[in-house]
């Protein structure tokens, strides 16, 4: 039903953007599948890493709607074993950035985690695990799951109620502007 991918033209802009954000050369990949073979999360995804790579080579927008790009655990297995020295995790990272920008996020929970995490870092200088956990519970609507674990941890003092804010927060937040510089 019109689902075939048009191969006539490769979206060079998207491809270049992925290469810029990830620092990886997409055409170095010859699709041997070793990344997919070793990837711990691939069996639970919609498409495996080498298909992500292939779609990225086309500059296919379809890849932006994939779950895989959000669920990469950044464990480095693919990069360690890749015969062509490609850091596939970086490619997934770049794709998820673009996917968020384009509003094509396939895994909202993963995106929320990322957002909350960065928010926590930016506001405090460090991550406050408890507020992160609470935010995630809200996002995943799994309010009661893992309470058996959470409560004892809380009681042991492992989840301090208030996060530690670093002193030099002002200067720290300046670092978040580094990107604009890099772009210039």
């Amino acid at each position: 039903m019109g689902a075939s991918v048009q191969l006539r033209s490769i979206d060079m802009d998207l491809k270049k953007e992925i290469e810029r954000l990830s620092g990886q050369k997409l055409d170095a990949c010859y699709l041997c599948g070793k990344c997919s073979a070793g990837c711990p999360v691939a069996p639970y995804q919609d498409i495996p890493p080498h298909v992500v790579m292939r779609m990225a080579q086309w500059g296919s927008k379809k890849v932006l709607g994939s779950k895989m790009i959000w669920n990469c655990a950044s464990c480095g297995t693919c990069y360690t074993r890749c015969p062509n020295n490609i850091d596939v995790a970086r490619v997934c990272g770049a794709l998820s950035q673009i996917s968020r920008r384009e509003g094509l996020v396939a895994d909202k929970v993963a995106a929320t985690l990322r957002e909350k995490f960065v928010e926590s870092v930016k506001n405090n200088g460090r991550v406050h695990e408890l507020s992160l956990v609470v935010a995630m519970k809200m996002a995943s609507r799994d309010y009661l799951g893992d309470l058996d674990i959470g409560i004892p941890m809380f009681l042991k003092g492992k989840f301090p109620l208030f996060g530690h804010k670093i002193k030099d927060l002002n200067n720290f937040q300046k670092l978040f502007d580094s990107k604009k510089k890099g772009d210039k």
Partner: protein, 671 residues
């Protein structure tokens, strides 16, 4: 004053279409030294050449510039032309108006201007040219073949059959090389030993071939037609002239089951005195001095003996005792042999990638993960398991056999970037051999691409899949680990686009790629030639001169050039023999006259040229107390590095002198 004639070629429309040849020709007459200028349709045609010859004669020209195509095309043609007109053939310079001007420039005016500049440069250069004459070198019609694998064997036999003497040097105790280690060959499934052994025997029995096994080349000096080579014949401790090859000694060696046999890839033992395999040529054992108890025990004559103590006796020596011929000679020493050759043939073969670099495949430590070469020995009826395919860990028959291709090959991260060319085929062959010996086994082949471009190759791979039931899965395996006495494989089937896992695997065979011999760079340095960045011998031109290397008189064949299979190795060996034959058909060689010369009167004896010469062609001489450098013209390759290094300008490359180059620079910029 020079009398230069300029001839501008239209090359049909090739040059004239972009360059205003008339204008160039007219302008040329104003260049200092030019007394004649014309243009013509096709200078290289017979008519065109006649115009040149006539013009030279009529105008008493002593130098010629031809503005035409690249000198790489017609320099030789035109050299002959000017020679016919009575000039020295080196009084010619070509301005490259086609490849460097008309074909690469968009604008007509600019092309014309550029063409004029190039003509000026050529006039500048040729104005200071001097007549050159080639030197003469006699040819020693004997060939050295380094390496006794199938390529070396073929080359040696072919050269010897032409009637020339051949010395074959092999560093192992027997010739045979890698091919001797193989069980069957693809795609015909011939027994490798059955087709190789007769060739080995031919080498041993050929009246024109002298075989030096257990020997290595130490040093190569000289030049084409006249190489001086020093060969180290390692002490064998068995006299080849006396030994009858009964091998009685081998059976009695107390270490006979103790030392891993290299021929069996370490999967079967040998003794300290051994022949590597049954069909070895020569069938004369060697004693391995790293292990032999006699040779390792201290020499009684050299041990200080305290008073009252008995002199120690040397240990063992059983082999010498059982030898009825008295062929064992523990006092043998390495022997240095110096020989002259006219040509050198390299056939040093290849090595296999060491898969211990693949930590994800167990780094070589999982016993049931073996290499394809291990498999060849295991499946061979004279191998360590007498041809029974078994798991090395427990000796049981494997039920599930997995082949993994591209181990080390096409892997820039841990191995080599190139394709090893033979693995697809030998893997298919090994899959077939598994099916023949183990009808019930499951066979899987993990591959990336099947490269089966050869006569009958594709059909062979398809047979492995269709008739022999090898299951081909497209994807690279990521990890192998042991679990419950078997192995688990993590892979992907890229064609269905999902990860796959396979457990209860009994045997994994890795198609390890071909790599250069570990000492290939060292050998290349010894011979004074180059290797590529993987250690394979570089050829002069990969397409047009595929078996010649950049040192004249040296040739290479087989897998020392790049990974290749047996037919290609044999074909290149034949090609080398033909090249050697061409060389030896000359009694005397004409050498290129564009070599360096050193003016002894100008030489400051600083030695810079001696030091920079890449071909060791310059030496320091002394005459009546004055030192000066001297070029061996036969060794000089005409690179001109000495000329660039020489401060007083004593070293000059003929045909490319400082004067010529400076004048051509000036001509472009000032004239």
């Amino acid at each position: 004053m020079a009398r230069v004639g300029v001839f501008i070629c239209h090359c049909g429309a090739n040059i004239a279409g972009k360059v205003d040849v008339e204008a160039v020709s007219e302008a040329a007459i104003n260049i200092p030294g030019v007394v004649y200028s014309s243009h013509q349709k096709y200078s290289c045609s017979e008519a065109g050449q006649k115009v040149i010859i006539d013009a030279i004669k009529e105008n008493r020209l002593d130098r010629v510039v031809i503005g035409s195509c690249s000198p790489k095309m017609h320099e030789n043609t035109f050299r002959k032309t000017v020679q016919q007109a009575g000039l020295n053939s080196y009084m010619l310079e070509i301005a490259n108006l086609r490849e460097h001007v008309s074909w690469v420039t968009a604008d007509k005016d600019e092309a014309t201007k550029k063409a004029m500049d190039l003509v000026k440069a050529a006039v500048g250069k040729v104005s200071f040219a001097k007549p050159l004459t080639p030197g003469q070198v006699p040819v020693e019609k004997r060939a050295l073949v380094i390496g006794g694998g199938i390529a070396g064997i073929q080359a040696a036999l072919d050269i010897a059959d032409m009637g020339y003497e051949v010395v074959m040097v092999e560093r192992e105790p027997s010739i045979g090389g890698r091919m001797a280690q193989l069980d069957k060959t693809f795609p015909t499934l011939d027994c490798s030993a059955c087709i190789l052994s007769p060739r080995m025997v031919d080498v041993a029995q050929h009246p024109n071939i002298r075989l030096l096994t257990y020997s290595e080349v130490e040093n190569v000096n000289g030049y084409v037609g006249n190489f001086n080579v020093i060969i180290r014949k390692k002490a064998r401790f068995v006299d080849e002239r006396i030994c009858t090859g009964c091998l009685e000694c081998m059976g009695k060696c107390p270490l006979k089951k103790k030392i891993p046999n290299e021929f069996e890839n370490g999967r079967a033992p040998r003794g300290a005195i051994y022949v590597p395999f049954a069909q070895a040529v020569p069938k004369v054992p060697v004693i391995d001095k790293e292990y032999c108890r006699y040779l390792l025990s201290p020499d009684p004559d050299k041990v200080e003996v305290k008073e009252g103590e008995k002199k120690p006796k040397r240990k063992c020596g059983v082999c010498a005792k059982v030898c009825t011929q008295g062929a064992v000679d523990f006092n043998q020493q390495d022997e240095l042999i110096s020989e002259k050759f006219g040509a050198i043939v390299l056939a040093t073969g290849f090595n296999l990638f060491d898969h211990s670099k693949y930590g994800e495949y167990g780094a070589g430590k999982i016993p049931d993960v073996i290499t394809a070469l291990d498999f060849e020995r295991i499946v061979n009826s004279s191998g360590p398991t007498e041809g029974k395919i078994v798991r090395p860990s427990n000796g049981e028959k494997p039920k599930r056999v997995v082949f993994i291709q591209c181990v080390g090959s096409r892997d820039e991260a841990k191995g080599v970037p190139y394709c090893s060319r033979i693995c697809c085929m030998y893997t298919a062959k090994q899959a077939i051999l598994v099916r023949e010996k183990l009808p019930d086994a499951e066979i899987y082949v993990f591959y990336m691409d099947i490269r089966a471009a050869g006569k009958g190759y594709e059909e062979f791979v398809l047979r492995a899949q269709r008739e022999y039931g090898a299951n081909y899965v497209r994807g690279r395996v990521s990890r192998i680990y042991e679990s419950n006495g078997h192995m688990v494989l993590k892979a992907a089937d890229t064609l269905v686009g999902m990860p796959v896992e396979m457990d209860d695997v009994d045997l994994v065979v890795l198609a390890t790629g071909s790599i250069a011999r570990e000492d290939s760079v060292e050998l290349a340095n010894t011979i004074g030639i180059t290797t590529d960045n993987h250690g394979f011998i570089s050829e002069v031109h990969p397409k047009l001169r595929p078996v010649e290397v950049p040192r004249e008189g040296v040739f290479a064949c087989g897998a020392c050039l790049s990974p290749r299979d047996i037919p290609d190795a044999v074909a290149t060996a034949g090609a080398v023999a033909a090249k050697v034959g061409v060389l030896f058909s000359n009694d005397i060689l004409m050498s290129d006259p564009m070599v360096a010369e050193i003016d002894p009167l100008k030489c400051a004896a600083c030695g810079a040229c001696v030091s920079v010469c890449p071909y060791s062609a310059i030496t320091m001489e002394e005459f009546r107390g004055k030192k000066f450098a001297k070029v061996n013209e036969a060794m000089c390759q005409g690179c001109g590095t000495c000329s660039a290094a020489c401060r007083p300008g004593a070293a000059q490359l003929k045909g490319q002198t400082d004067e010529q180059i400076l004048r051509s620079i000036e001509a472009v910029l000032q004239w």
